[in-house]
Amino acid sequence: MGNEFLPLLYSFHFYLFGLLAIAAALAFVTRKSPVAAAMWLITTMFALAALYVMMDAQFIGVMQVLVYAGAIMVVFVFVVMLLNLGHPSEISDIRGKWGRLIAGFLGIALLAEILALTRDPMDLRLVVPVIPATVNGTGGIIGGVAGPLFREYLLAFELTSILLLIAIAGAVVLGRKRSAADAR
């Protein structure tokens, strides 16, 4: 396998995972059962993780699998099971024909606009500070992300920790079963 095949191989896999992501996403929104939908969404996330890795964001790819597919989606499935919603409800939760049609038109309009905007020559360099993603730097793959995270974005990082703390507290308060005395 010569080097001349590498771009082709790369492109093939890129399209493969891209199409897989889109196909899995389509399957996700059309499933009636929440569990099936969750499974298809997890598929999308795996495909996206592959794309991340292919775009030199190996750390993010790992995080995608661990945090998204491994933690968040598990919580979703867990809630679905907890509430015993695993089976498709007798009354369909999908809107009627006209609702789907109009939603489709709206989606196409949105897509067209987004694509038109990505074609637009916008100089993003003006608004985004350039921090080179050093793969071969001293910190390795993780250092490329960790460097900016703990230097330029330290305050935001600390704030997210507070956000998480609040989210935990909120989830506990909301999820707690209320006693009769509290129910006043």
């Binding site: 891209g18 992501a21 889109i22 996403a25 389509l26 996700f28 929104v29 929440p34 939908a37 999308t44 996330m45 996206l48 794309l51 991340y52 775009m55 964001a57 993010i60 995608q64 968040i72 979703f76 809630v79 679905v80 509430l83 919603l85 409800s89 939760d93 999908i94 809107r95 609702g99 939603a103 709206l106 989606g107 949105l110 897509l111 987004i114 694509l115 990505t118 360099r125 985004v128 500070p129 921090i131 993603a133 490329g144 992300v145 900016p148 995270l149 330029e152 974005y153 935001a156 990082f157 997210t160 998480l164 609040i166 989210a167 935990i168 909120g170 989830a171 506990v172 909301l174 999820g175």
Partner: protein, 97 residues
């Protein structure tokens, strides 16, 4: 490569939007939102290939927020389910003016 990645991102985002518009199951709507977040993450990663590591840092933040959102959102859904025995958005109209 950037253009393709952005296109995939746009398509995924639109699928998420259509899902939000057409589904009435609160959990699925929630998952559609997660899909939209993932689509945005893809854009961030794609841009980071071109412009540097900032995009990846933002992905980390988005994931954090998504985790927090999932925790609180699902807790709310559980709470509502306890009261109303349903997660169908049609039956949930506590905010009606």
């Amino acid at each position: 490569m950037l253009a393709e990645a952005l296109a995939i991102s746009a398509v995924l985002f639109t699928i998420g939007v259509i899902g939000v518009l057409t589904r009435r199951n609160a959990i699925i709507v929630f998952m559609c939102v997660e899909l939209m977040l993932n689509a945005v993450n893809l854009s961030f990663v794609a841009f980071s290939k071109l412009y540097g590591a900032t995009g990846q840092v933002f992905v980390v933040f988005v994931m954090t927020v998504a985790a927090a959102e999932a925790a609180v959102g699902l807790a709310i859904i559980i709470s509502i389910f306890r009261h109303q025995e349903t997660v169908n958005l049609k039956d949930i109209n506590l905010l009606r003016g």
